[in-house]
């Protein structure tokens, strides 16, 4: 189906004129957020949410933007990551690193398994099956009352102080310390993602996005690479979910629902799915807008829906996509 013979279209530039500039600005803003955010009336937890959802969207974008396949059920792996972390803290060990590991194993593991069943599918059918799989995870989580707390969500756990051997960092009560902990994790993961995309493996994924037929005739086993990409994306998304559980000391079944999947997609597209930092920008815009709108009106759903429609109809390239085109050409 995918012939991708868009040889006559003028390609959009995939790298900005000064690729490092966006990164520098973003890191400067993130590092100083606890200073400037309160001045604008924001709060550190909001920054934490941006970071976590931004991480989820960037992980999701490994698939959408860089492999060219469209998962519409990524909330499942995010939510499973959150439950994995929560359950680890509640029942296994009071250790923040172990909680993160538990989340990644649960979300990434199930994602890897599901990925086996869908790597042959493309386009909207890929999306449809991923939505359905996401709902399986949602369904199991809310029906398994005794373990997960059902509709009320999982409570009764709290992130544990970080024990580094020589010293212990209190990230439980100090929200700024926790923010910087989040930021370090975010930095490590996005660093890994950048390395991945610059590697031969990352180029192979982009090749699949660009032209599946050509890639296959260069000897690339498409299905296996899509599966690997899906699995990696799910692991990172689950990690973001685990951080979300740590941020709130709570895991919510709505964190697995497909409406969050849709929100992850719109964040990605809004920020620019062909740009590395696009999903983070999109997440920041979306989270702040949603926060603002839901404090203003009970009809926030309409406004969120309007964001979807407006982005699709008028800003399909996303913010960074538009900026880069402006600068690059």
């Amino acid at each position: 189906m995918n012939t991708a013979t868009t040889t006559t279209t003028v390609p959009m530039s995939t790298t900005p004129a000064r690729p490092w500039l966006t990164g520098v600005i973003i890191w400067a803003l993130l590092l100083s957020a606890p200073i400037w955010l309160p001045m604008l009336g924001g709060y550190t937890a909001l920054a934490g949410r941006v970071l976590v959802l931004g991480l989820a969207a960037m992980s999701f974008n490994l698939l959408l933007g860089f492999t060219g396949v469209m998962s519409f059920g990524h909330a499942a792996y995010f939510g499973l990551g959150a439950y994995g972390a929560g359950l680890t803290l509640k029942y296994l060990a009071a250790s923040t690193p172990l909680a993160i590991l538990g989340g990644v194993l649960l979300g990434g593991g199930l994602g890897t398994l599901f990925g086996l069943l869908i790597s042959q599918r493309r386009g909207v059918y890929f999306a449809m099956v991923t939505v359905a799989f996401g709902q399986i995870a949602f369904y199991i989580t809310y029906s398994w009352d005794s373990l997960t707390g059902g509709y009320d969500g999982l409570r009764g756990f709290a992130r544990a102080p970080l024990n580094l051997g020589f010293t212990t960092i209190d990230i439980t009560n100090n929200s700024t310390a926790f923010y910087y902990f989040l930021l370090i994790v975010f930095g490590v993961v996005t660093g890994l993602q950048a390395l991945l995309l610059a590697s031969p493996f990352g180029r192979t994924l982009v090749a699949i996005r660009e032209n599946e037929r050509r890639a296959r005739f260069l000897g690339i086993p498409i299905e296996r690479h899509i599966w690997m990409s899906f699995s990696i994306s799910c692991c990172f998304t689950a990690l973001a979910g685990a951080m979300y559980a740590l941020l709130n000391n709570f895991a919510d079944p709505m964190g697995l629902h497909y409406s969050l999947s849709g929100e992850i997609v719109i964040m990605t597209v809004m920020g620019g799915m062909r740009a590395f930092w696009g999903p983070l920008i999109g997440a920041a815009l979306f989270v702040v807008l949603q926060d603002y709108i839901s404090s203003m009106t009970v009809n926030w759903m309409s406004f969120v829906g309007m964001i979807f429609v407006l982005v699709v109809l008028f800003f399909p390239r996303g913010l960074l996509g538009m900026l880069q085109r402006g600068v690059g050409k």
Partner: protein
């Protein structure tokens, strides 16, 4: 015990009938336009609410006919105004568009008619049970099944015998060729979307008579409809029909033995089908890719 089984089988058939109406509409749009309509459940709700407005003026029977038609017109307009703009783009955009539309439509229903459930009156003749032994089967349930059978038969006849229907089927197989024959593909897609909306609207009226109205009434049907399509096989309307009935009845029968698992069984069926027969029960080879 027999009564319980019978009760659940009829229940399953009725639920299955709703899945079928929803899924057939979704399937039509998916096959011809390559769009997953996430707002399909909201078209269902819209059909119900329109009927709710019309009943005082036209009576139940009038509303049953007119409300789906108005829903179809609404679908036609939405397709013309918005959805057609994204056909040539990456499919992610059409999904996001219908996703946003679902949010807006649901919120609009809540804004206009309130968040709480509203009852819809149905004629007395339909609300009586069949007999004392079969007290759990009202005439309305029989009536619903009859209407769904009529609608599905009508749809298949429409696709087989009318010019537009034949073009829709041909376009599903090879849109380029249909376009090359001089058919206005844009208009064909709009009409096809309208037919899909009509089915959703009809399901909405029927559902409103059975369980009343609320803004989320279509939500619970959306996911099973996706599964009906996946199970039946993408690209095959007959498959969608069988898929919908299968998961409806399977869910209801499971209620007899293990009520808690009645929803799970739908997902299990999907997984089993995907593992054993990835293209679905009646799907064509390669249609899923």
């Amino acid at each position: 015990m027999l009564q319980l089984v019978l009760f659940n089988v009829t229940n399953g058939l009725i639920i299955g009938a709703f899945y079928v109406l929803m899924a057939l509409g979704l399937s039509l749009i998916l096959n011809l336009s390559n769009v997953i309509n996430f707002a399909h459940g909201n078209f269902l709700a819209l059909g119900g609410y329109i009927a709710y407005i019309l009943v005082p003026f036209l009576g139940f029977w009038g509303a049953l006919i007119v409300a789906p038609l108005i829903t179809a017109v609404f679908g036609f307009v939405i397709e013309r105004l918005m959805i057609r703009r994204v056909y040539t783009r990456d499919p992610v955009y059409s999904l996001l568009l219908t996703f946003g539309l679902a949010f807006i439509m649901q919120d609009a229903c809540r804004y206009i008619w309130g968040p709480n459930g509203l009852p819809m009156t149905i004629p007395d003749s339909l609300s009586t049970p069949l007999s004392a032994d079969l007290f759990f089967i009202t005439w309305y349930r029989i009536f619903m099944v009859a209407i769904v059978i009529t609608a599905v038969t009508g749809l298949f006849a429409f696709l087989r015998f009318t010019r537009v229907g034949i073009r829709i089927r041909a376009g599903t197989l090879d849109l380029d060729t249909v376009a090359a024959l001089g058919v206005n593909v844009g208009m064909l897609r709009s009409m096809n979307f309208a037919v899909g909306s009509l089915l959703a609207g009809l399901a909405g009226v029927l559902a409103a008579g059975q369980v009343g109205l609320n803004p989320n009434m279509g939500d619970d049907l959306l996911m099973p409809s996706f599964i009906a399509i996946i199970v039946g096989g993408v690209g095959s309307l007959t498959g969608t029909l069988c898929g919908g009935l299968l998961i409806g009845v399977a869910g209801a029968l499971t209620t007899v033995v293990w009520p808690a698992a009645s929803e799970a069984v739908i997902y299990v069926i999907m997984l089993v089908v995907l593992v054993l027969r990835p293209r679905g029960l009646m799907g064509q080879e390669g249609m899923m890719s």
